[in-house]
């Protein structure tokens, strides 16, 4: 039996520009990229293709030196047009010019009865070479999963509570059989259970709630209730030495398709959202798509920030950028590069949203209002002063202030004792948002995680 968990802490950022539940009719993006920087824990990623090579969906593009068995493959078929490197020849991205019709590498197909008796080694091999393995995230640390490890459980978050998040019941409509097949396969990789964590009110979507062979846990609460790290903490917490894996529902569906149809299907729906988008709606595309086509004639103004992902954990990619591997959301907000006269004290106008209720910030009076927020920091970085606020937006038995201070002090024992194994950036993203002193909480946390991981 799954658990029922009610979370009272958290904060929903209510932004304007939610995607309408319809799929836009535009032609496929021209270029797609795979970025090694979307993954943590890869040591010296090395390309296995060169510019001019033709690839199919599922052809390996690169692998890391410390994990030559994990292939990162092309989402589409086409021609490799750029292998982009940065400082010290660090591999940044591999760009593919897509064919009009996507061709797939053919992997082995299995019938449902064959799948029931599949040996673990064969499952792993198929997943590793096709590229779907990259969907598995290893906790602690949030790195690409180690194929040699048997995790104590696997967790799938069946809802997204982030600002303007896509509606999963729309995103994964009619994918029931692939999701089920994916869960069946994943179950063999863990010594424990596969947990599917759904929102209490999302009974409409049968994709997750009717799944067999998995523990279905129900959550209620504000963001970050949808973050899988928060869910793990309440369902099956990570202790020192434990390993659990997480995977997105899309990843599960890709696993299912890989075994049922024998292809790496990187197609996905992407929600194009945000206050500066004329028609916020969904687009059908593939992983790592160029955002140009989504935004042409679709922006209200030019001085915008284009974010792959949501406004809490996303990355600014620019108008010509490409979506990240894990992102099925694009958010466009106004750029906040303006000075505001006495902006630190003027009472709230419509664009000031705050978790706090300090003088003049009245957004708490209108919780259901949709806000247009820009990328201005609203203040400068200062010393830690305010206490007790991080704790109100982290529904976990973890002390965020103390954890962050232990990271700044580079005290590894203390970080361990305070639970650094249980969190990654997205879990603490709201702390960064509400921070009065404007620290880059997620960056600090990642530094701490890498310090512990490499110790």
């Amino acid at each position: 039996m799954g658990k029922n968990i009610r979370l009272s802490k958290g904060f929903d950022i209510n932004l304007a520009g939610k995607a309408a539940p319809k799929i836009a009719d535009v032609e496929l993006a021209e270029t797609f990229v795979v970025k090694p920087t979307d993954f943590h824990g890869l040591y010296m990623p090395k390309p296995v293709v060169t510019e001019g090579d033709t690839v199919k969906a599922g052809t390996p593009l690169f692998h890391a030196k410390n994990h030559e068995d994990i292939q990162f493959t092309s989402p589409v078929s086409g021609e490799v047009v750029e292998v982009k490197r940065g400082e010290k020849r660090k591999l940044l991205e591999i760009k593919i010019l897509a064919d009009r019709q996507v061709e797939h590498v053919n992997f082995k197909k299995y019938s449902l009865s064959e799948m029931a008796s599949l040996p673990v080694a064969e499952i792993k091999e198929q997943m590793l070479k096709s590229g779907v393995w990259a969907n598995l995230v290893h906790r602690p640390f949030g790195i690409v999963a180690e194929p040699t490890v048997v995790p104590k459980s696997i967790h799938i978050s069946g809802f997204d509570t982030a600002p303007l998040a896509p509606d999963y019941s729309f995103l994964f409509r009619a994918q029931d059989q692939f999701f089920q097949a994916g869960v069946d396969v994943l179950k063999k990789l863990t010594s424990g259970a596969v947990h599917v964590n759904i929102h209490t009110q999302s009974d409409l979507s049968t994709v997750f709630s009717q799944v067999k062979g998995a523990e279905v846990n129900k959550f209620t609460g504000k963001h970050p209730a949808g973050c899988v790290g928060v869910q793990i903490h309440h369902v099956d917490p990570i202790n020192k030495g434990d390993v659990v894996w997480t995977i997105s529902p899309l990843g599960v569906i890709q696993v299912g398709k890989l075994f049922l149809q024998g292809i790496y299907d990187a197609s996905r729906l992407v929600a194009v959202t945000g206050s500066e988008v004329k028609n916020p709606q969904y687009y059908r595309t593939y992983t790592g798509a160029s955002v140009k086509k989504f935004l042409s004639n679709n922006l209200k103004q030019e001085n915008v920030r284009v974010i792959s992902g949501n406004v809490l954990t996303g990355a600014s990619i620019g108008k010509d950028g490409h979506l990240g591997f894990f992102d099925n959301q694009l958010t466009v907000i106004p750029e906040g590069d303006y000075h505001e006269f006495l902006g630190w004290i003027t009472p709230s106008n419509k664009s000031k949203l705050s978790f706090h209720r300090a003088f003049g910030l009245l957004s708490f009076l209108t919780p259901s209002k949709e806000y247009v927020l820009d990328s201005n920091t609203h203040g400068e970085e200062r010393a830690f002063v305010q206490t007790g606020v991080f704790e109100q937006v982290l529904p976990m038995d973890v002390l965020p202030t103390q954890l962050l201070k232990s990271i700044l002090a580079e005290d590894i024992d203390e970080m361990e004792a305070l639970g650094i194994y249980e969190v990654i950036e997205e879990d603490l993203a709201l702390c960064e948002f509400v921070d009065v002193s404007k620290h880059n909480v997620q960056e600090i946390l990642r530094d701490g995680i890498e310090l512990v991981r490499n110790s």
């Binding site: 000075h339 902006g343 705050s354 002063v385 202030t401 305070l418 009065v436």
Partner: protein
């Protein structure tokens, strides 16, 4: 505004790296960000939007919460003045006397404190933190009305340099800075900050017959064995200001004392602002009042014929500076306990120690200052236990 912005943009290059006043950058930054919220945007990775609140606004909220205490305190200086010299004054006259007495103290406190902040920011190359906006207002509010200005200056300088900058600046200090200033005066110039200094009489003025400047705390401490403190309060000043220490008057604050501390009512209004805005911890405020009341009740039981111990516990909440300390000093987030559970213990212990010091220590009539300073020092210890409990829960989970 555009003109101002242009001027700032025009001189800015001089303060940036390579400019001729490069060293003064943080002083410039403080002024620039005071005039204009900066145009900085969020990093490419991480949160892309930020909460609209910043440290300046947070600190300003605390100052706004102090305004009722300040205004009432100004009026009360005049009110006490006229009572003491046996005359009557209008509302405006009372206010005027208060303003004349208070404003120079505020100016000196801000002037000296911010001056030191800017100097340290320039030397140590860190931004000017807004913490002193609050400290600079708290210091005047805990001063006697006719404190010599040079003492305010010395105390502020001591508090900012030794209490804060020596530890690394805002956010790093161990003890409350405003209370450090007050404690400095208390121990360095005891004659100027104890006894009958709490009423401003004025140059050459003589007090009315029968006048006594003793505070309720002094009256309570001096009450003879077997007497009732409440009776002493009610009969105090019967010849020149009847009812001055009645419970109602003590609650409203029409009593002599430091500039901002006398009115429990105004402190409660401030507390309401702090709690509603989430700026001050309600746990600490409730803890201090609860701890003091609980300790008062306990002493009532053990009192025997000791008059101060037998004083009804609720009187502890309205005499002296307990309310002001609970609302504005104990809630200082930097020096208080930082864990939510710890805040309860921290607050309750402050309340208990305040009453203990008041009742049992004849050398110090008021206990709140020392209680808060003491608990400031122990706050990390309280946090240590709370954090250890958190760590142990995690360890226990692992071994099950």
């Amino acid at each position: 505004m555009k003109f101002l912005r242009k001027t700032l943009d025009g001189v800015k290059p001089n303060f940036e790296k390579g400019g001729k006043w490069e060293k003064m950058y943080f002083a410039f930054e403080a002024i620039e960000t005071f005039l204009f919220a900066p145009n900085t945007t969020t990093a490419a990775k991480g949160v892309q939007v930020r909460d609209a609140v910043d440290l300046k606004r947070l600190m300003m909220t605390v100052i706004i919460a102090m305004v009722p205490c300040l205004l009432f305190g100004m009026w009360n200086i005049g009110h006490q003045h006229f009572l003491a010299i046996g005359q009557t004054g209008t509302l405006g006259e009372k206010f005027w006397i208060g303003i004349v007495q208070t404003l120079p103290i505020i100016v000196v406190s801000y002037g000296v404190g911010l001056g030191i902040e800017f100097v340290f920011a320039t030397i140590r190359r860190h931004p000017v933190n807004e913490g002193f906006l609050v400290t600079g207002m708290l210091i005047p509010l805990v001063m006697p009305p006719d404190v010599p200005l040079w003492q305010v200056a010395v105390a502020t300088a001591f508090a900012v340099v030794i209490g804060k900058e020596a530890f690394g600046g805002t956010g790093m200090n161990v003890v409350n800075i405003a209370l450090t200033a007050r404690a400095f005066l208390y121990f360095a110039y005891p004659t100027d900050i104890s006894g009958e200094v709490w009423t401003y009489l004025g140059e050459g003025a003589t007090a009315v017959a029968g006048y006594s400047g003793a505070t309720p705390l002094a009256v309570a401490a001096a009450a003879a064995k077997g007497t009732q403190v409440v009776n002493e309060f009610n009969s105090f000043g019967s010849t020149w200001a009847p009812g001055i220490y009645s419970f109602q008057s003590l609650f409203l604050g029409t009593q002599p004392g430091s500039i901002g501390e006398t009115s429990t009512l105004m402190c409660l209004i401030g507390a309401l602002i702090l709690i509603v805005t989430g700026t001050g911890s309600w746990k600490i405020i409730v803890g201090v009042f609860g701890g003091a009341y609980g300790m008062g009740l306990l002493l009532n039981i053990l009192a025997g014929n000791n008059a101060f111990m037998a004083m009804p516990a609720y009187y502890h909440l309205v005499i002296g500076g307990l309310a002001f300390g609970a609302v504005f000093m104990a809630t200082d987030p930097v020096t208080a306990a930082q864990t939510e559970t710890g805040k309860w213990f921290y607050g309750i212990l402050i309340g208990m120690f305040t009453v203990l010091i008041r009742v049992f220590n004849p050398a110090y009539p008021e206990g709140i200052m020392l209680a808060i300073l003491l608990m400031n020092v122990f706050a990390p210890l309280i946090d240590y236990f709370v954090v250890s409990a958190n760590k142990n829960r995690r360890l226990k989970r692992a071994t099950v």
